[in-house]
């Protein structure tokens, strides 16, 4: 999922940010690409060319063969949540079949009405997906959950539009619902519902081209979504064809109202709770690559206990209700909950102001979130990152150092040039202290550079990755164009999805 600065970047700002990210991706040498063809053949070729200096590390990793992770409660939970989603989305259909049921109409009319029920149920469930419940997000990662929210929203939008279209075609008399002469309030509400739906989808798809800030989009999105579900609920109650008995009316009000309460919970209750656990900015430290590290200490509480690789939503200022809230990965060790550090790259409006944050500033953290974490049972780790995507990996490595973790790890790290390698010096020290090997990949190297150059591609990965790849845990974090190259490659090489941890910059 994508947090750090990039996230915020895409999340927080406008089209400029996407250009910046694209530029960063290009500077790192990435391009959009499909899965590499004939991966194994390429790797065999690359292995033959691999230098001897690589072999010991690969050999060391290949000796670690932990048992494959069994299907545990996490996988069961993941499937369970999906089943619950389908069940809740289909709940109105089941309720409509319970007696008393009204006389049936034409099959197309019943189908259209059913689609309307499902659409409204899915729209209500949208609130649950974005309520940032750690329990729901845990099996998938919050970025995946938000991506699901986005895709499901498009489907619900489509179903909500098809619902009246089929009705109008099957029975033109239904057009009266949109006719002000037949009922001004009803027609006005339904036109408003349609307008809100179009706006909520349109602003989401084209926020950046029209230059809308992330923060205002977030507010607008919440208000419009609330209106859509509220008017949808009133529409169901007023039509009332399938809810002639009080318990059915109560079910609709309870389920849909509960969904809307989730929005209130996320936007009001959670910030209220955050007021009890503020932080103070103690240091704003410049890093390489136009990045800054923000150090925070808890004020009056024990800090935040997180797993290395996770992230939190940061709000700066005296109020947790501030409009600006952005997700960033922790860079510090998980063993130090009272000294939290976030490393942020200058990419957008919010992040470009980080250097002006004064020590002493109040901050609030909501979290931790994310599944970009090293399994205790994993035999080792392979990190493939680009740019500021190194941040969560630094948290994992620093934690490994603090806990005396001796598992082998390899970090393949793409940067624009040697001067912009974030954490360059500390990584060199960590190589001495951990069983870690760092492979720097520079897009623009000086003539005396003897390491890897260009972009992280399949040939480079073949040269440096150990052969028993599925036995290790893999972490990929960087620009989307890099991820689009690396993820298919790893999957084709036999890495299971459960062993592949990905975080994308753009989660908003």
């Amino acid at each position: 999922m994508a947090k750090r600065l990039d996230v915020s970047a895409l999340g927080s700002d406008n089209a400029r940010i996407k250009k910046v990210l694209t530029r960063e991706a290009e500077s790192l040498g990435y391009r959009k690409a499909g899965p590499p063809a004939n991966v194994e053949a390429k790797c065999i070729h690359a292995r033959e060319e691999a230098t001897m200096s690589v072999a010991p590390m690969a050999a060391g990793l290949s000796t670690v063969r932990p048992p494959r992770r069994p299907v545990g409660p996490g996988a069961v939970e993941a499937v369970g949540w999906i089943g619950l989603y389908v069940a809740l989305a289909a709940l109105p259909l089941a309720a409509a079949l319970i007696r008393p049921v009204p006389p049936a109409r034409g099959v197309w009319i019943e189908f259209a009405v059913g689609l309307g029920f499902v659409a409204l149920a899915m729209l209500g469930l949208q609130f649950a997906l974005t309520a940032r419940f750690r329990r729901i997000a845990a099996p998938y990662g919050l970025d995946t959950l938000l991506h699901f929210h986005r895709q499901a929203g498009l489907v619900a939008f489509g179903l909500a539009l098809v619902h009246p279209l089929i009705l109008f075609i099957a029975e033109p008399a239904f057009l009266a619902f949109l006719d002000p002469r037949a009922g001004l309030i009803r027609a006005g509400a339904l036109w408003a519902l349609l307008g809100c739906l179009v706006l909520v989808i349109g602003l989401t798809l084209w926020r950046q081209p029209i230059g809308m800030s992330y923060d205002w989009w977030r507010v607008t999105h919440g208000v419009l979504a609330f209106l859509v579900v509220f008017i949808g609920l009133v529409h169901v109650l007023r039509v009332g064809y399938y809810i002639s008995v009080p318990w059915k009316q109560g079910m609709w009000v309870a389920v849909t109202g509960g969904a809307m309460l989730l929005l209130v919970h996320a936007r009001l209750i959670k910030p209220l709770r955050l007021r009890r656990s503020p932080y103070r900015v103690t240091e704003v430290r410049p890093e390489r690559g136009q990045s800054w590290t923000l150090a925070l200490e808890p004020v009056g509480h024990g800090g935040m206990h997180f797993e290395a690789g996770q992230f939190a939503w940061l709000t700066l200022g005296s109020s947790p209700f501030a409009l600006e809230q952005h997700p960033f990965s922790f860079a510090s060790s998980a063993q130090r909950p009272r000294r939290l550090e976030l490393t942020i790259k200058e990419l957008g409006d919010f992040t470009s102001r980080i250097d002006r944050v004064a020590p002493g500033t109040t901050a609030f953290l909501e979290g931790p979130y994310g599944a970009f974490t090293l399994d205790p049972d994993a035999g080792g780790a392979v990190f493939i990152v680009g740019g500021v995507g190194v941040t969560p990996v630094m948290s994992i490595l620093r934690t490994m150092l603090d806990t005396g973790d001796s598992r082998p790890a390899i970090l393949i790290y793409g940067s624009p040039n040697w001067n912009e390698v974030i954490f360059r010096e500390e990584l060199a020290e960590l190589e001495e202290e951990l069983r870690l090997r760092v492979v720097h990949v520079l897009e623009h190297a000086t003539v005396d550079w003897e390491g890897e150059t260009g972009r992280i591609d399949e040939d480079l990965l073949c040269r440096h990755l150990p052969r028993d790849m599925p036995a290790l845990e893999y972490f990929v974090c960087g620009p989307e164009s890099m991820m689009d190259v690396v993820e298919p490659f790893l999957l084709e090489r036999g890495v299971s999805l459960r062993r592949l941890n990905s975080e994308r910059f753009n989660i908003a």
Binding site: A104, V155, R504
Partner: protein
């Protein structure tokens, strides 16, 4: 890649829901 799987999952869930809706309409009118 994980997002690709997410899209496929949403597509699969949507298909199931539309089929359930069709079943609902059939049950209602066939009764």
């Amino acid at each position: 890649m994980q997002h690709l799987y997410t899209r496929r999952l949403v597509l699969a869930i949507s298909t199931v829901l539309v089929l359930l809706t069709a079943l609902f309409a059939w049950v209602r009118t066939a009764a």
